[in-house]
C-alpha cells in the first residue's frame, strides 16, 4: 500500500467519484482514470499472478503493451477476460477480478511452481512430458492448462451490439502525440481529407504525460489548441478510443473503435465496438516508441514500472508511485521523471544511471549513482529494496517504487503487416520499419529518436510531402519547446550481470533471460526457434515489451549483432480484438439473410412447417388436425396429389429470362441437349454440364418468343447458374447478342399436380387449356381471372401426374394460391410441401441434386440421349468424351427396395453384393435418396450402382457403417410407379 493519489495535479476529474471493485473490495476512482491508475491511487500494487510461476505482479506500463495487469471485468454476458487495466477506462460500478490465482491473489497455491522452476524452464514441455504418449492429452495437458491460464470466457451470450463501417480518406494519421497532431494539422490545413485515430480516450498521446511547454503553452493546452482546430475543420474525422489493428492490401487499415467500453451499461442504439475499415490514399504512422524494460533479477516485483508509465501516472492521473522512489535509467528521460517527481513532492531516493555521465544537469536531492546498475529487486509482493552494483561494489537501498528507463523501440508493427521485415539500425540501436513502403510513412519517434520539436517538425514535413504529392500545398509547422529532455540515442543496456533472482524478458509468458540463454545453448538460437522453444513473444501482448530484449540477448549469447538474429513476423492484430467486433451485426438471426417465398404467408396460413434450405424457408409439409407425425402429413399429401390434386410452392426455383437475337445459340452452348429448334410456346428439360463433362444443373427452359426464353434452375444452384451464364455470355462469347436477367424474386410460382389439376386450373385461366390447346410441355403467357391478371403457365411435371406450373407476379402470389385452394376445394385439393414433392418425384425416378452430386455424367443417370452428337460446341462436350466416363463399370442410376418392406435404409448407405464383406473393394455404390412411399408401403431408394441398370432384380445388402445397419434389398427400376401411365401427357 505505497502508491497513492496526490492532493492535486493530473487531468482527472476530481469532482466525479467513481466507485468500483477489485476482487470484491470496494475502491473509488475519479473521472478520467484508467482501471490501472485508480488501482494505483488506492495503493493496490499487486494486481495479478504470472502465467507459469504464479509470481505476484504489478502494473508495469500505462498503455497497450501491458503484460501483467490483465484482469476479468464485467459480469454475466458482459464478462471480458484478459482486459488490460492500463487501457480500460474506469466507470462507476466497474467490477474487476484478478486471474490465474487460487485461492486468492495474495495467497496463491500455484506459486509453488516457482519452486519447481528448474523443471519448468524453456522447452520443458518437450523434455518433461515425452512419455507415455497417451498421458499428454489425458493428464499433462489438462493439468498444465489448469495451472497456467488466462481469464475464462463467459458461456453467456454477449448482449451488446457491434457494427462495421468504412471510412475513406486522403491521409490516415495513426497516433495523436506531438507527431500525429502536427501531421494531421498540416494535412488538414492543406485541404486533404484526414482521419486521425488514437487508441486513447483523449488525443495528445505522450503530451498528456509531459510537463514540457510548447509555444509557451502547457503540453495539455497545446493539445487542446490543436484538437480544437482539427475539430473545426470539415475535412477531418477524429477517431478516439480507436486502435488501428492492421495494415492490409490496397492501403486499407483495420481499426477497432471502443464506442461504449467505458460505460457500465451501453446505451442501446449504439454499438459497444465498431470495426472500421479505412481506405486511405496514404497513411502516417505516428505511433511513437515503446519504452523497454531492463532485465535484472526480480524485475517483475510489484512496485517496478517503466519510467514513462510512472511519469504518466504522476502527471496525467495525479498518482505517486510510492513513498521512496528510485529511478534506474540508461538515458536522460529518467531525469525528466526525477524532476517531475520531486516537483510533485515525491521522495526520490536515488537515480541509478548506467552511464558515466548524463547530458542534463540534475539539481535535485536524490543520490545519483553513475556507472551503476540495479542487479536485483527484492520484496516479493511489494518492492522493498534494490541491489545496486557500482564500480564492482554492491549496495542495497530501501525503496518501494522503482522506475526503469531502458531506452525506446519504435512502434513499427503496422508497417510490417504486409510482409516487410524490420531493419536493424546500429545508429539508432533499434529495429526500424523497412524503407519505401508504398502508401505508408513513419514519422516522429516511430521513425527515429528525436526530441519533441523534432517530432512536430517530422510529422508536419511528412504530411506536407503527401499533400504536395496529392496536389495540395501548405506550410510546415514548428514549435518552440521548453523543458524537454528527450531526444538522444543512448547505447542500450541488454544484459545486466550478477542477478540472483529471476530476470524476466517476457513477463506475460514468464520467459527469463536464463531461458533464452538455454535456448541458444541448446541450438535453438534462431529467432523463430527461440520463440517457440521459450514461448517468448507468444502471449497476448505479442512481445511488445519483450521481443527486442529477447533478440538482443540471443544476439549476445550467439556473439552476433541483433541484425543477424532478425525479428519474428509481425502480424495483425496489433492488440487483441474481440470476436464481437469481427462478427459485427452478423449474428443470430442476422447471421445470414432469410429468403421467404412470395407464398410464405399462404403457407403459414395453411399450417406449414418450414425447413431451411440455403437461405430459403421452404414449406416442408402442411399438418392437419389429427396428424401426429410429419409422416402422417406427407403420406396424405402424396396420396391425395395422385388421387385429386396438390398445390406446391415452387417459387424458390431459380428463374432467368434470356433474350437477344442469339439467345437460341447461347442456350445451345450452355445445355448439352439442343434448344435451337425448340418451338415458341414450348418448354424443354435441359442438362447443363461443367467443363469436365459432369452434370452441373438441370431444369426446364421455355421459349416465350423467338428471341426470349424463360429458364428455371434448381433452388440450390440458382445463384451459381446465373453467374455461370453471365460468365459464358461475357467472358466466353461476348459476341453473342444475349441479355440475362434474374427474375427469381419477380414471380410467385406454384405447381398444381394431380388428375384434377386441369379442372381446377381452368376455373381461373381464361383460355381453354384442354390437352389439344395446352398440350404436354406447352409454355406460354395466359390471362387469368377474366383478364385481371397475366401469368406464365407451363405444362411440366415433376410428380409424374398431370401437372402445371403457374407463375404470377410475386405480389399476386398469395391471392392466386388462395383462389386455387378455394376453387380446388370441391375437387379435394391439398397443399403439399417439399417432403411430399420429394416422395412424388422419387416414386417416378426423377432426379435432384441428391443424384447430381458432381460425380455423374448424363449417361450415369440414364440421360445419355440428352447429349447432342451434332452440336459443334457446348460446355463439357470435349471432356465428356474421356474414355473413363464411358467405362461400363461406372455406378449408374437404379432403384432400390428393401426385401422386407418394414425395414428401411438411409441415404448415404453403401451397396454390397449379397454375402460380400463390408470392405472398400466390395463397394457396389451408394444410396442417393430414400423416402417412404405410401403407394408401395415400403421405403424406396435411388442409388448409383455399378452396372445398376443391368442388375434389376438382384438381391444386395444395403450397409450403413455409421449405424451398423445391414438391410437386405433388391435392385430395381428407378421408376417405382408405372401407373396406367402417360398421365402427364394426357
Amino acid at each position: 500500500m505505497t502508491s497513492y493519489r496526490l492532493s492535486k495535479g493530473g487531468q482527472i476529474d476530481r469532482a466525479t467519484t467513481l466507485p468500483f471493485t477489485f476482487d470484491g473490495r470496494s475502491f473509488n476512482g475519479h473521472g478520467g482514470d484508467t482501471l490501472a491508475s485508480a488501482l494505483l491511487a488506492n495503493g493496490q500494487q499487486l494486481v495479478a499472478r504470472s502465467f507459469k510461476y504464479h509470481r505476484p505482479r504489478g502494473i508495469l506500463t500505462a498503455g497497450a503493451a501491458e503484460p501483467n495487469a490483465l484482469m476479468t471485468i464485467g459480469t454475466g454476458g458482459r464478462t471480458e477476460p484478459n482486459t488490460r487495466a492500463t487501457v480500460q477506462e474506469l466507470y462507476a460500478g466497474l467490477e474487476a477480478r484478478s486471474q490465474n490465482r487460487w485461492p486468492s491473489l495474495s495467497f496463491d497455491i500455484g506459486a509453488v511452481n516457482g519452486l519447481l522452476s528448474p523443471f519448468l524452464n524453456a522447452g520443458f514441455y518437450y523434455k518433461t512430458f515425452m512419455w507415455p504418449a497417451s498421458f499428454w492429452e489425458k493428464v499433462y495437458e489438462p493439468l498444465i492448462r489448469r495451472a497456467a491460464g488466462l481469464g475464462k470466457a463467459t458461456n453467456e451470450a454477449d448482449p451488446d451490439a457491434y457494427e462495421k463501417a468504412w471510412a475513406h480518406c486522403d491521409l490516415l494519421v495513426v497516433g495523436s502525440g506531438p507527431t500525429g497532431l502536427a501531421a494531421a494539422l498540416t494535412a488538414a490545413r492543406s485541404g486533404l481529407r484526414v482521419v486521425l485515430a488514437d487508441e486513447q480516450p483523449a488525443f495528445g498521446g505522450s503530451l498528456l504525460s509531459d510537463t514540457a511547454a510548447l509555444d509557451g503553452l502547457a503540453a495539455t493546452e497545446y493539445v487542446a489548441r490543436c484538437v480544437d482546430e482539427l475539430r473545426s475543420l470539415p475535412n477531418v474525422k477524429l477517431l478516439s478510443r480507436t486502435t488501428v489493428i492492421g495494415w492490409y492490401d490496397s492501403n486499407v487499415f483495420g481499426a477497432v473503435e471502443r464506442v461504449q467500453k467505458h460505460v457500465a451499461v451501453p446505451a442501446s442504439g449504439q454499438p459497444v465496438e465498431r470495426l472500421w475499415r479505412i481506405a486511405a490514399k496514404h497513411a502516417i504512422l505516428a505511433t511513437g516508441a515503446e519504452e523497454r524494460p531492463l532485465v535484472f533479477g526480480g524485475n517483475d516485483t510489484p512496485g517496478i514500472m517503466l519510467a514513462g508509465a510512472m511519469r504518466t501516472y504522476l502527471n496525467r492521473f495525479g498518482v505517486a508511485p510510492g513513498r521512496k522512489v528510485a529511478i534506474f535509467t540508461i538515458n536522460d528521460t529518467g531525469y525528466a521523471l526525477a524532476r517531475d517527481l520531486e516537483k510533485a513532492g515525491v521522495d526520490l531516493v536515488a537515480i541509478i544511471d548506467s552511464r558515466l555521465q548524463s547530458s542534463v544537469p540534475y539539481a535535485g536531492k536524490a543520490r545519483v549513482l553513475r556507472n551503476a546498475v540495479v542487479t536485483d529487486a527484492k520484496g516479493g509482493q511489494a518492492l522493498s529494496s534494490i541491489q545496486i552494483k557500482q564500480d564492482g561494489r554492491f549496495q542495497s537501498i530501501d525503496v518501494d517504487a522503482l522506475a526503469v528507463a531502458g531506452g525506446f523501440s519504435p512502434i513499427i508493427h503496422l508497417a510490417c503487416h504486409r510482409g516487410g521485415k524490420p531493419v536493424w539500425s546500429d545508429e539508432q540501436s533499434a529495429f526500424l520499419a523497412p524503407d519505401n513502403l508504398n502508401g505508408l510513412s513513419l514519422a516522429g519517434a516511430a521513425a527515429r529518436t528525436g526530441n519533441l520539436a523534432d517530432c512536430v517538425a517530422h510529422g508536419s514535413t511528412e504530411a506536407l510531402a503527401i499533400a504536395t504529392q496529392l496536389g495540395k500545398s501548405g506550410e510546415a509547422i514548428s514549435v518552440q519547446v521548453e523543458g524537454d529532455l528527450s531526444g538522444r540515442v543512448e547505447k542500450p543496456l541488454w544484459s545486466i550481470p550478477d542477478n540472483s533472482g529471476k530476470a524476466f524478458v517476457d513477463y506475460q509468458n514468464d520467459v527469463t533471460r536464463r531461458d533464452l540463454d538455454l535456448a541458444a545453448q541448446e541450438g535453438f538460437g534462431h529467432v523463430e526457434m527461440a520463440k517457440r522453444y521459450t514461448t517468448n513473444g507468444m502471449a497476448t501482448d505479442q512481445g511488445k515489451l519483450s521481443n527486442i530484449n529477447a533478440i538482443a540477448l540471443l544476439a549476445e549469447a550467439r556473439g552476433v549483432s541483433p541484425a543477424q538474429v532478425g525479428t519474428t513476423t509481425f502480424r495483425p492484430f496489433y492488440t487483441p480484438v474481440s470476436f464481437g467486433a469481427l462478427t459485427g451485426a452478423a449474428k443470430g438471426k442476422h447471421f445470414q439473410p432469410i429468403r421467404k417465398s412470395p407464398l410464405h404467408n399462404w403457407a403459414v396460413r395453411n399450417s406449414a412447417t418450414f425447413i431451411e434450405t440455403g437461405l430459403w424457408y421452404r414449406s416442408a409439409w402442411f399438418a392437419r388436425q389429427g396428424e401426429t407425425t410429419w409422416r402422417d402429413s406427407v403420406d396424405r399429401e402424396v396420396l391425395n396429389t395422385r388421387i385429386n390434386a396438390g398445390l406446391c410452392d415452387v417459387s424458390m426455383l431459380g428463374k432467368i429470362e434470356i433474350s437477344g437475337k442469339d439467345a437460341a445459340t447461347f442456350l445451345d452452348r450452355v445445355y448439352s441437349n439442343g434448344f435451337a429448334k425448340l418451338p415458341v410456346g414450348k418448354a424443354r428439360y435441359g442438362l447443363m454440364l461443367r467443363d469436365d463433362g459432369m452434370i452441373y444443373d438441370d431444369g426446364t427452359t421455355s421459349r416465350l418468343a423467338e428471341d426470349r426464353y424463360f429458364m428455371t434452375t434448381t433452388t440450390a444452384y440458382a445463384a451459381g447458374v446465373m453467374s455461370h451464364l453471365e460468365f459464358c455470355s461475357q467472358a466466353l462469347w461476348p459476341d453473342l447478342d444475349v441479355r440475362l436477367a434474374s427474375v427469381t424474386d419477380q414471380w410467385a410460382q406454384m405447381s398444381l399436380a394431380g388428375p384434377k389439376a386441369r379442372t381446377i386450373l381452368q376455373d381461373i385461366v381464361d383460355e381453354d387449356i384442354a390437352d389439344e390447346s395446352f398440350g404436354f410441355l406447352a409454355a406460354r403467357e395466359v390471362s387469368l381471372f377474366g383478364g385481371k391478371l397475366r401469368g406464365l403457365m407451363f405444362r411440366i411435371s415433376f410428380s409424374g401426374e398431370l401437372a402445371y406450373e403457374l407463375a404470377v407476379p410475386a405480389g399476386y402470389g398469395e391471392s392466386v394460391a388462395d383462389a386455387l385452394m378455394q376453387v380446388g376445394e370441391p375437387h379435394g385439393i391439398c397443399a403439399y410441401g417439399v417432403e411430399a414433392l420429394n416422395v412424388l418425384r422419387m416414386e417416378k425416378g426423377f432426379i435432384t441434386h441428391a443424384e447430381i452430386d458432381g460425380t455423374v455424367t448424363p449417361a450415369d443417370l440414364g440421360l445419355a440421349k440428352m447429349v447432342s452428337a451434332t452440336k459443334p460446341d457446348f460446355i463439357g462436350k470435349q471432356m465428356l468424351k474421356r474414355e473413363g466416363l464411358s467405362d461400363p463399370l461406372r455406378p449408374r442410376l437404379a432403384g432400390l427396395l428393401p426385401l422386407d418392406p418394414t425395414q428401411g435404409f438411409r441415404a448415404g448407405s453403401h451397396i454390397l453384393s449379397k454375402d460380400a464383406a463390408a470392405t472398400l473393394e466390395n463397394d457396389q455404390g451408394y444410396v442417393t435418396s430414400n423416402a417412404w412411399s405410401p403407394h408401395l408401403q415400403s421405403t424406396i431408394g435411388l442409388a448409383l450402382i455399378i452396372r445398376g441398370p443391368e442388375r434389376h432384380g438382384e438381391e444386395v445388402v444395403v450397409w450403413n457403417g455409421l449405424y451398423n445397419e445391414f438391410t437386405p434389398g433388391r435392385i430395381c427400376d428407378p421408376v417405382f410407379l408405372h401407373a396406367a401411365d402417360e398421365k402427364p401427357h394426357a
Binding site: 492490401d249 510482409g419 467443363d691 467472358a731
Partner: protein, 88 residues
C-alpha cells in the same frame, strides 16, 4: 489478396463484393485435341508474380472482370471487363 478492386464500371470496391473463379485462360477451340482441353480444365500454373484471374462483381454490376494481380505482393496491376478483347 487485394482489399480493394477497381472495377472498370463501379470504381474502387471492397473485395467482399466479388467472387473469384480462378485463372483467366483462353477457352480452347471446341474441336481442340482432348489433351489441350485436359490442360485447360485441370492444370494450373501457380506463378509467383503476375497472374490474370476471372473475378465476378457479383454484388455490384454483375460483370465478369479480368484482374491482373501479383500473387506475391498482392498489388493489382489492371482490371478490365472480361468481354473486352485485348491484343495478344
Amino acid at each position: 489478396m487485394a482489399s480493394l478492386i477497381s472495377c472498370p464500371h463501379c470504381g474502387s470496391r471492397p473485395k467482399e463484393e466479388f467472387e473469384i473463379k480462378g485463372a483467366a485462360l483462353p477457352r480452347p477451340a471446341p474441336d481442340a485435341p482432348q489433351s489441350e482441353w485436359f490442360d485447360h480444365v485441370f492444370l494450373r500454373e501457380n506463378p509467383r508474380g503476375r497472374y490474370d484471374e476471372y473475378w465476378h462483381h457479383a454484388a455490384g454490376c454483375r460483370r465478369w472482370l479480368v484482374v491482373t494481380r501479383d500473387t506475391a505482393s498482392h498489388e493489382v496491376e489492371a482490371c478490365r471487363d472480361a468481354a473486352e478483347r485485348v491484343p495478344a
